[in-house]
């Protein structure tokens, strides 16, 4: 009887898997279509009216060329790439820590990047010769170096990558510590406050083709290994003991995944500042839409995160145009609202 049941169950299980895969492919296509649509929309949303922008598309001129192809297009593609990196980082963080509230900045990358930018601004303003090399890095380089330093400090404090609680605790400690140092420095130099605010609230305003190239390269470099490691992530979701018994080399797997998490977060934060909620919300949105395994999540979360940040970028420049809102405020409003709805729906179900 058990044999019969096993034989009968096989086609039903595979049919369900095929249906799920079909649904997953459908959602991937939807995310891509939304990104393409938003790219088109972003070309006509800015300081000019939609009608004027459409006119520019029809009859190009020197100024309109600059606005459309040197400002709006790289800006929206950069926003998509940064969002995709945050989505990927969020998917990795939530899988590695087996915590749905895990997000890319958990390991001190944002506070490290913020401290790097603060130091860079102070060095260039006060001409501290001892730290002149930091000024040479530029804000982007300083943010990247700071993010990497923050993550390294977290890993050093937690004495490795194996213990999730000590990693999380070290991440919190590093975030507070570096944040306090940054605040102390800013108090001594009030002129840099506003520039720092732009960074801390996220900004897509100055994304150019160089930023797009950098973000795209990091995304292209990060996705294949993340996909290859996703089998290990699937095993991790069953628990560390189970993963161990399945022969997964836990230490090297976690080290590789945290390396990817650091690279993707640092690249994103160096280009668009600290944009919250995208990395947290994108994997949730994917899981809410379709049942996915880790490999599928690694593909879908970046697509979803990219579209999210693209949409937030368009809203940030449209709501109070020709002024603009920091993009981090828009993502916080959108992401926060979504999480509240998610919690409410969960409470209703229970």
């Amino acid at each position: 009887m058990s044999v019969t049941r096993g034989v009968a169950a096989q086609p039903i299980g595979s049919e369900r898997a095929v249906a799920r895969f079909g649904k997953f492919k459908g959602w991937v296509l939807i995310y891509i279509a939304v990104a393409v649509l938003l790219t088109g929309v972003s070309l006509v949303v800015g300081t000019s009216s939609v009608r004027t922008s459409l006119g520019w598309l029809m009859s190009p001129a020197v100024l309109s060329d600059a606005v459309l192809w040197d400002i709006r297009l790289p800006r929206t593609l950069g926003a998509w790439s940064a969002g995709a990196l945050l989505g990927l980082a969020g998917a990795i963080a939530q899988s590695v820590f087996r915590n749905p509230l895990a997000e890319p900045y958990l390991l001190g990358s944002s506070s490290g990047a913020a401290l790097g930018v603060t130091l860079s601004l102070l060095v260039t303003e006060t001409s501290l010769t001892g730290l002149a090399w930091l000024g040479q890095l530029g804000l982007t380089g300083a943010a990247f170096a700071g993010a990497c330093a923050g993550i390294t400090l977290t890993l050093a404090l937690s004495r490795g990558v194996l213990q999730t609680p000590s990693l999380l605790l070290a991440g919190v400690v590093v975030a507070f510590l570096l944040g306090a140092i940054m605040s102390l420095l800013l108090l001594r130099s009030p002129e840099t406050w506003r520039a720092m605010q732009s960074f801390l609230l996220g900004s897509t305003g100055f994304l150019g083709w160089r930023s797009v190239a950098l973000l795209a390269v990091v995304l292209a470099v990060s996705l294949p290994p993340a996909g290859l490691l996703s089998r290990g992530l699937d095993a991790l979701t069953l628990g560390e003991d189970t993963a161990w018994s399945l022969g997964i080399p836990l230490a090297s797997l976690r080290l590789a995944l945290l390396g990817l998490l650091s690279l993707t977060t640092a690249a994103s934060v160096s280009q668009v500042g600290v944009v919250g909620f995208v990395g947290l919300v994108a994997p949730h949105l994917v899981r809410e839409s379709v049942h996915v395994n880790s490999r599928q999540l690694i593909v879908a979360a970046p697509l979803c995160g990219g579209a999210l940040l693209q949409a937030a970028d368009i809203l940030s420049r449209w709501i109070i145009r020709p002024s603009e809102l920091p993009v981090g405020i828009v993502t916080a409003c959108l992401g926060g609202t979504y999480l509240v709805v998610l919690l409410w729906r969960k409470a209703q179900r229970e």
């Binding site: 100024l63 600059a66 400002i71 303003e125 530029g138 108090l187 009030p190 732009s198 020709p322 603009e324």
Partner: protein, 296 residues
Amino acid sequence: MRSRPGALLVGLLALVCTCAAGRAADAPIVLFDSAHHELRLEHPPTRIASLLPSLTETVCELQECGHLVVVDRYSNWPASVAQLPKAGGLEDVEIEQIVSARPDVVLVAHAPRVLERLRGLGLVVFEFETQRYADIGRNVTVIGALLGVPERAARLNRQIEDSVEEVAAAARSRLAERAPLVYFEVDSGPYGAGPQSFIGEMLGRIGVRNILTADLGPFPRLNPEYVVRANPDVIFISPTEAPHLIHRPGWERIRAVREQRICSFPPAVRDTIVRPGPRVAEGYRALTECLLRVAP
């Protein structure tokens, strides 16, 4: 910007209430600050705490610098204030430092938490509005009345206005035909100085056109493409940001960037431009000198 409908009356009230020239020697000084708080002193204060650079500068320009006993961290002019104890800034004011200096009066800008705490400790606190050009003259008048030197205050106000008008008139006549279009970047957000801001008022008075419109507010955060579309002739920006303008997407096409018509000022000069205080004429001079040099 906060609206202070009664603020315009403060200067007049100060004069009416104190009128030091005609004030009887034993009559108390009664003043109302920009938030309409009544301040009553039996004698002009001899121990003054100032928590804003422009107020510190005003006290010193009224030749009462010797009465300052504590100042904020950012007060750096005149050089003599460097010797005074520092009480932090408005964000992290050191209450203990102020109390231990035993001031007769504390001069401060609008900062609710600081005001509440200092008043709670029984200190006499006087609040000032320091946002617009008109606030300069008003604050000079009020501080002059408070310190019992209204004639000096009136003289200082005349000096400030005469110097500013002299610089502005000369600039207007030389820039009249050119009327350059300018963008003043306050910070790399990018935040610009609109016509309603103190800096915007200065630019308007010397006869240049601001790319920002009044409806955007005093310091709007801009979509960078706004600046590209406006294509300013001259850009005012901090020396640290100036070399990076060319790397901002699309900005290489802006006339000011293309033709290197950029004005940047070292911190000491920038202080005179961004502080609505008695050295405003120096700020005007620095602005116009650079404008005349680089404007097309």
